[in-house]
Structures are given as structure tokens and as C-alpha cells.
């Protein structure tokens, strides 16, 4: 499979679908590189279907999800799926690595799991493998503002990612150019206060939003969530991990980077 430069501008295949309480979008630029007709469409459908499967497994809004069943005491963690065990294991690692600023437990109900701060990025990262497996090289997957890209969008060498203005969802505040890699942002503007500092249980408010750029979306998103919860020390905290950069937008609308 040929990977890399694109000599001609290819009309992209684009599709979007509501999932996980937000919208997932896939843009694929190597449509003409796939010999079998419909491969791109079927692969993108598989991406959406897998996101829906993972949502059904993890959603705290669904009574029949594994997380809801664990919270009601109907399912023991060791008996849960490999996916749930992997996520909870990673959440525990993040909790330790951030001295408790990241927590997969609700601040108002410490025995109730809510790993949603980790699941979206992890799920998007995981399902993006279907695009690679199909031999696609130039694509962008965006799940509710968390993004993983491969290759190039045809006309440019890199994907140009606009980071939304936390004070105005219709405007862009900063631009990040990236080829292979991930960009994830945490904040409280779009859906109200839904991120907390696990050390205190209080809402995280130090920054308006915090963006992390890194090699894979699982940890890029997890670090954005954790750094946002850490607040003032969050940018430095991200810096310790090789390959990851952080950028915050302050309440004064200033852009601060590591």
C-alpha cells in the first residue's frame, strides 16, 4: 500500500454522525487509492458502528451499559469486558500519575464510576485502527473536537486544525498543523461544568480550555483532561511525557504553550 505524498487533489469522502452525545466526523482523502468500490464508505460505517458499540458499553447515561451495571453492583469489574478493564486500568494509572487530579469516580459519589473523561479519546483512537486496516493513509477522524489524523488532506502537507475559541464556539482562536498525530482539547465552555479536580472534588477552572498535541489520541485526550483538572501546573505536567505538547487558552483569551 502506497503511503505518503499526494500528487493530485483528491475529492474527499466526508461523513458525520451523532454519537456519544456529540458528532463524529470522518474525512478520507485517498478515495481513489482504494481499488474496491465502496471500501471507504464501508470502512467509515464500521468506524461509526464501533463508536456506537463502545458508547453502549461505557455510557453512564445508559442503564444497561457495563459502567452502569458496575455502579449498581450488578457486575464486578473483573467480570467486565476487556475494554472496560483496559479503560479502568488506564484511569487508575492516570489517577496515580496526577496525584488524584484525574479521577474516574464522581466527586459527589466516590463509589460511582464515570470514566467519560477518558473514554471518548480512547474510543476514537481505537476505532481509527479500522481506517489503517483498510489501507487508508490520508484521513482525519474528529469525535466531538478530539482529532486523530493520518497523512495529509491532499492540498497541503499537514492537516490544519482550528482550536475553537472557548468564549465563542463559532470562532477559531488558534491553529495547529499536524500530520500523523492527535489533538485533543478539554474545557468547560461547550457543555457547562463537567470536569473536576479529583484532589478536591471542585470544578476545574484554571483555564478556559487546554489542548494537547501528541502521537496517539488515547493519551493526548487523557492528558488534556488531566492537565485541565490540574489547572495551573497542568502545562508543566504534560511536558514530562515525551512527544506531548500542551497549549492553554486563559480566561483572558491568551494562548499559553509549554
Amino acid at each position: 500500500m502506497t503511503v505518503g505524498t499526494v500528487n493530485t487533489v483528491v475529492a474527499p469522502y466526508r461523513s458525520a454522525r451523532p454519537v456519544m452525545g456529540t458528532i463524529a466526523s470522518v474525512h478520507v482523502y485517498d478515495r481513489d487509492r482504494v481499488g474496491e468500490p465502496g471500501v471507504v464508505e464501508r470502512t467509515v460505517d464500521r468506524v461509526f458502528a464501533e463508536l456506537e458499540r463502545l458508547e453502549a458499553m461505557f455510557s453512564t447515561f445508559r442503564a444497561d451499559s457495563e459502567i452502569s451495571r458496575i455502579n449498581r453492583g450488578e457486575l464486578q469489574i473483573p467480570a467486565s469486558s476487556t475494554e472496560v478493564c483496559d479503560v479502568l486500568d488506564a484511569c487508575r494509572w492516570l489517577d496515580q500519575a496526577s496525584d488524584g487530579a484525574f479521577s474516574a469516580y464522581r466527586p459527589d459519589a466516590p463509589d460511582q464510576l464515570d470514566p467519560s473523561g477518558f473514554v471518548k479519546g480512547w474510543a476514537a483512537d481505537r476505532v481509527s485502527q479500522a481506517l489503517r486496516d483498510a489501507g487508508l493513509a490520508n484521513w482525519c477522524l474528529n469525535v466531538g473536537g478530539d482529532i486523530i489524523v493520518s497523512g495529509a488532506p491532499g492540498r497541503d502537507q499537514r492537516w490544519k486544525i482550528g482550536i475553537v475559541d472557548p468564549r465563542d464556539a463559532h470562532a477559531v482562536r488558534a491553529t495547529i498543523e499536524v500530520s500523523h498525530g492527535a489533538v485533543a482539547t478539554s474545557g468547560t465552555a461547550a457543555r457547562g461544568m463537567h470536569l473536576w479536580d479529583g484532589r478536591t472534588g471542585a470544578n476545574a477552572t484554571a483555564f478556559a480550555s487546554l489542548t494537547v498535541i501528541g502521537p496517539n489520541l488515547t493519551w493526548t485526550d487523557a492528558f488534556a483532561t488531566t492537565a485541565f483538572a490540574l489547572g495551573e501546573g497542568g502545562l508543566e505536567w504534560v511536558k514530562q511525557f515525551d512527544g506531548y505538547q500542551a497549549m492553554a487558552i486563559t480566561h483572558e483569551n491568551e494562548v499559553v504553550t509549554t
Partner: protein, 166 residues
């Protein structure tokens, strides 16, 4: 404009290492739900990336620029998208694009006939806008940010990008 090109070299170099550190960490982690062997030094993240780390060694350095703030909708241009068949039926959207790529409004101007579906599409329409938008300043491939709701999406820049061409 604030260019951060200086970050690039370090970022590129560190990425070469990160694929390895991410992989190694899965072994370093304590097993699932044991007695919590607390690491005294910070271990790298466990590998739940489903094997995606392999691509990272070729990651070029990202650059970050700060865009000028938008100046509003005073000069907004109206753009009609083509009629597109979606899973909900045919959809056409009219968007107004202002300065700074601001999406001033996005309205479904054609909705499916079926009543229940038309209610749904009006609430969660996926706008489809043609390439004209590109010439009017939507110069992004994708929009990152704090998770937007399905409702907010239909008026978002990302919605325009998703529908720009097909």
C-alpha cells in the same frame, strides 16, 4: 501571529522515543486491580492504543499559530449547500459565513418529508455546504475543542467542513 517553530525539533525527536516508551509501559504497569503497587516514580502510560503507536515515528513537527479574533457577522455571506442524501433523507443547508470563519447561522432549507424524521433533522441537521465556503475563508481541515453537543454542531465550523464537498 506567534510561531512556535522552535518546539518542532524537540517534538520530533521526542516522538521517536515515545512510541517505544508507550509500548514498554504496558509491562511496567501493575496488573488489573491488584493490591495497588504504587509506583514510586512516574511510569509512562500503559498501552491501550491498539497498536496505533507504530505510526508516530514519522510525525512531523506540529506548528501552532494564534488566529486573529473574528470581527463578527457584519459582512456575512450566505452559502447554500447542495441537496445531499443522508441517512435521514435529503438535506440542504443555508449557512451565513462571517469574518474570521465565523458561522453566523446555519439552517436546514430542505428537510425530509417524513414528519418524525424532519423533526430530527431540524434538531440535528448535518449541514452540507459546497466548495464555495473554502473561498470565503474556512481555511481549516477540522475543528478541535471542548466537546460540542449534537445541537451545537449544526451551527459549528466543523459542520461546514464536514459538508463542504462530497
Amino acid at each position: 501571529m506567534v510561531a512556535l517553530a522552535a518546539l518542532g525539533g524537540a517534538f520530533l525527536r521526542s516522538l521517536d522515543q515515545s512510541a517505544n516508551t508507550v509500548r514498554l509501559s504496558a509491562r511496567a504497569l501493575p496488573s488489573h486491580f491488584g493490591n495497588g503497587a504504587t509506583a514510586t516514580t512516574l511510569a509512562p502510560p500503559p498501552d491501550t492504543s491498539n497498536g496505533t503507536g507504530g505510526d508516530t515515528a514519522t510525525v512531523p513537527a506540529p506548528t501552532t499559530t494564534v488566529a486573529a479574533p473574528p470581527t463578527g457577522c457584519g459582512n456575512a455571506n450566505s452559502v447554500d449547500g447542495p441537496v445531499i442524501d443522508t441517512r435521514w433523507g435529503p438535506v440542504q443547508v443555508r449557512a451565513k459565513i462571517g469574518d474570521g470563519n465565523r458561522v453566523c447561522s446555519a439552517d436546514a432549507i430542505q428537510t425530509p418529508n417524513d414528519h418524525d424524521r424532519s423533526v430530527f433533522i431540524n434538531q440535528q441537521a448535518v449541514p452540507w455546504i459546497d466548495d464555495e465556503v473554502k473561498t470565503q475563508g474556512v481555511n481549516f481541515d477540522s475543528i478541535g475543542g471542548d466537546t460540542i453537543t449534537s445541537d451545537a454542531y449544526r451551527e459549528s465550523v466543523q459542520a461546514i467542513l464536514d459538508g463542504r464537498a462530497k
